[in-house]
Symmetry: C4
Subunit: 201 residues, 4 copies
């Protein structure tokens, strides 16, 4: 089964999610810089969610580039991932409309946790198609970041009941961990390209 | 006529429909878990509609993968399907804003019924292009699910006037029937791929 | 210059326009069929705009299928068309929120008129690239529909000041004129395909 | 790394941004032409933002057409650009809801400035992959417009505190500067095509 439409549909959904959050950015009440300052927590929450969705798109892009076909089960695993990602704007809005109180910050972390697990399940589906000695398997390697993320989200959710700022700090730390580029995948893909692998385009 | 843009446009519309429903998910009034609990019927309706749109995208993907060209009539049949799918967010909102009362639950079933009929018409259009001995015809087979769905929706619409929960139970049953993967189509497609059919990509 | 991204971008914009109109479909006030009845003019306006955008997408699809390359000027002509199409949801909302009064009905017709002119300009751009003896030129032919539409829209705009129902009747007539499939384009494309023209895919 | 999904994702995000602004176009209060007249500043702001996003899409299209591969760093530079573009609807809404007061007009210019810088950074990333003697390098040339734009935006931001109309005039001047087609890029691309460069499709 071709991976083209799975990529196109995921691109569409993530592109919409990353942009509809701007509809939540309410126009400030007033025309002064002070009026804008009240929107600062909302804008920060938007930046965090934009970064998280950008990371998912980026990783999705890399992961799909390393496989050549998908299965029906992978389509469902992908829709499951998109479902949890689709709740990010909702969780962002709840968190930011109320100036970042503890319960919505914890709920935001739970959505990120569910998305991380859904991504892990999708990766497993794709690995079972591609095989243990595939390009995908070598690109993923030990998957240290993928395993650390859910644990860190659990810590963040717990800490957000102590102080929401601690919880948010952990979520930001996870995002920064992913934003730092991972040289392994690109090196593996570059090596493959040099071997003449034109089929991955 | 190439099927590429029909796929791209359908992907776009379904991707938007599946995500704009989150704009209906109103931010809870308050920052406690209790505030979130009031949103539970809304969230459940969202899950059901997300699943239904996901099923349509998935089936659309499979059906189009089995044909190699489309006609002008198929473009219109596809737009007709997209029209009814586009009413799912509206029906979901009516149903969920009012905590699932009978009439909106029946109206939701009618939209699903119309979409199922539109899908059936599109399938007929594509079959008439592909022919009786085509890959598509063998992939569809007796089309038991496709024939059972409209009947079940009619039953669900009727039952929702007795009790909305009975109506919803039928709609959920139809969704679950489709969520269980159908091994036939993938087997047929896999068989074709082994025969060297590269043109379907 | 490749036409692929022009098609993809246009597909994206039209797909979004055709679906965001459902966000204007306000949830009925109440849970009875009577509550839904108040939405009937809104739903009818939605159907008309859905049909118009569907027609534009369909014609755009056919027109681009008949050319093999685009120019920078064609990109701008395409953005100009998309601009007027993007005002359709706005005009639809103004017309339908107020139960179809004369001035908004006339304004709706003006947006359709501007879109028809923009489409004509885009067609001219593409024709000047493709040449008088091109596939596109023979597919367009005398362009009777394309020339009749702006005139009919002008008539409809004028009539909507007499009675909005007359104006709407003309707009509906134009849409029906286009919804009837045009056998020429498909015949021309089919003829080309039989000649072995694989490059149009 | 293939550039296809980067193009598709960017197309999706820009297509959504350019269209969700119409959701901000509030239905006029009333059904007369006077009611529409109150929306004129909103409509003008919409036209300016539509033009700006159209220019970015157009330039993005040209730039990506001139490269054959992208890197992970280019993906992030692209997401950075999309982030600033995503704030254009927000800045447009703030500016237009309040009938173009100075501070929101300055803020609008700052978003345009940040987007221009982000575009410059993305261009630098792509140049470092393509090399100094690449098609991209010759297409960009001295990049006079790219260098003039940020300076003009700074001037516009400053002038908007003197009078918002002066600031807006500068922003409009930048847009007009870009709307005038640049013959160099197309000439370079056309020259390459004549050399038989089919790989850029």
């Amino acid at each position: 089964m071709s991976k083209r439409r799975l990529e196109a549909f995921s691109d569409g959904v993530i592109a919409i999610l990353i942009t509809i959050m701007v509809l939540e950015l309410r126009t400030p009440h007033g025309t002064s810089w002070d009026a804008l300052r009240e929107d600062v927590p909302v804008l920060l929450a938007y930046v965090l969610s934009f970064a998280n969705l950008g990371i998912y798109w980026n990783n999705h892009h890399h992961m799909l580039a390393a496989v050549s076909r998908v299965s029906g089960a992978a389509l469902w695993a992908n829709l499951h991932l998109l479902f949890w990602l689709s709740l990010i704007p909702f969780a962002t809005a709840w968190m930011s409309e109320n100036h970042l109180p503890p319960v919505p910050v914890a709920a935001y972390g739970m959505v990120l946790l569910a998305a991380a697990i859904a991504y892990y399940l999708l990766q497993g589906r794709l690995l079972s198609i591609a095989g243990k000695h595939s390009l995908l398997a070598s690109a993923i390697g030990t998957d240290a970041k993928g395993k650390a993320s859910p644990i860190m989200y659990c810590v963040g959710i717990g800490l957000s009941f102590v102080s929401q700022w601690l919880g948010l700090a952990v979520y930001i730390a996870v995002a920064l961990m992913w934003l730092i580029p991972d040289p392994r995948v690109e090196r593996t893909l570059a090596a493959q390209r040099d071997d003449g692998g034109k089929s991955s385009t």
